[in-house]
Amino acid sequence: MSYLFCIVLTYSYLCTLKLRFNALNNNIMAKMKGAIVVDTERCKGCQLCIIACPQKVIALAGKVNLHGYPYVEATNEEACVGCASCGIVCPDGCITVYRKKMEE
């Protein structure tokens, strides 16, 4: 009887851990907000940032710059969490990435 009680107690504790972890995760995801600024005259439209972005923030803007290169812009900036993957992989250093903790 006490053995069964221990198992139930342990299982309940493990469940609360899982719930707490999920809540924490969601809170982290919810807590960071990002934004990017693209230097469009530096951008060459290689699109490596588009592939690197886990949030599908960036796309080709459908326009070209003074050098004739199609450049990218943040078409879905709401989803940006400021992970900076785009800025890190950009071969031309075009992207400045901002990140701010959201106030609850």
Binding site: K33, G34, A35, V37, D39, E41, R42, K44, G45, C46, Q47, L48, I51, A52, H67, Y69, E77, G82, A84, S85, G87, I88, V89, C90, P91, D92, G93, C94, I95, T96, V97, Y98, R99, K100, M102, E103
Partner: protein, 256 residues
């Protein structure tokens, strides 16, 4: 949250490195050179060595590296960068001296200078951007071109009978007594870039600590020469270059 609240200077987590100036780089869209340049600029700045760094640029696409990173530079003749670096470092031992070379520069015309500077243990870092092709001159075969790979001078694919075999310079370097750190890295993903930056930092630190010579090879893409998009080139590199030029440290006696 308003966008203006996010886009504030105190919130910057990633930007063009300070040591990279505003000149637009002439490299093709998606070229690995750009990322390697950024890493060099970041590491020199983080080490606080911008007033002590002297770079030696090659003949190849990166001949104009001296236009982009704001340190002193010397332009070497094709393949001779390690000799220039030897002269500079021997006479200015407290400077951070590195070469930046492509596969033709380092592994073809410059093989002798590369091997001897490394083997003498000159306290320099040789940065090797290996994209298995001659980019600047229009896509000819390089000593690191893979068997079967097509270039303008082996349009039917590299054939050992006609063209010999590709050269693994990092393996040669690792076998030399004078080298203290030999590594292969790449810059196509965030994870790879982070590792590459650490490797570059280690090499620079080792040269300043007098541990000997380092070779940091960046297995890279040339989407123009390979006639692929930048994204396709990254995939081709992962499928074909990585198995032949495996990444990781081939030698590390730095104790750093």
């Amino acid at each position: 949250m308003d966008r203006n609240q996010i886009v504030q200077p105190e919130n910057i987590v990633c930007k063009k490195p300070t040591l990279m100036n505003d000149n637009n780089m002439h490299y093709c869209p998606g070229c690995s050179h750009g990322v390697v340049h950024k890493l060099i600029a970041e590491v020199i700045e983080e080490m606080g060595m911008e007033d002590k760094a002297v770079g030696v640029s090659p003949v190849g696409c990166a001949v104009f590296a001296y236009n982009y990173i704001d340190i002193d530079w010397q332009e070497a003749a094709h393949g001779r960068a390690p000799a220039l670096a030897t002269g500079i470092k021997r006479c200015w031992p407290d400077r951070l001296v590195f070469t930046y070379q492509g596969d033709g520069d380092l592994a073809c015309i410059g093989t002798c200078e590369t091997i001897h500077a490394l083997n003498r243990g000159e306290n320099i870092v040789i940065i090797f951007v290996n994209n298995a092709i001659y980019g600047m001159t229009g896509g000819q075969m390089a000593p690191t071109t893979l068997i079967g790979q097509k270039t303008s001078t082996c349009p039917y694919g590299r054939d050992p009978q006609l063209h010999g075999y590709p050269l693994k310079m990092a393996d040669i370097a690792a076998g030399l007594e004078g080298t203290c750190y030999v590594t292969r890295q790449s810059v196509e993903s965030v994870g790879a870039i982070n590792k590459a930056k650490k490797a570059l930092r280690k090499a620079f630190e080792a040269s300043m600590a007098g541990k000997g010579s380092s070779l940091v090879e960046f297995v890279s893409t040339c989407n123009s020469g390979w006639k692929l998009t930048p994204a396709q080139a990254n995939e081709w590199m992962k499928e074909n270059m990585f198995p032949f030029y495996p990444k990781g440290d081939l030698k590390d006696t730095t104790n750093l």
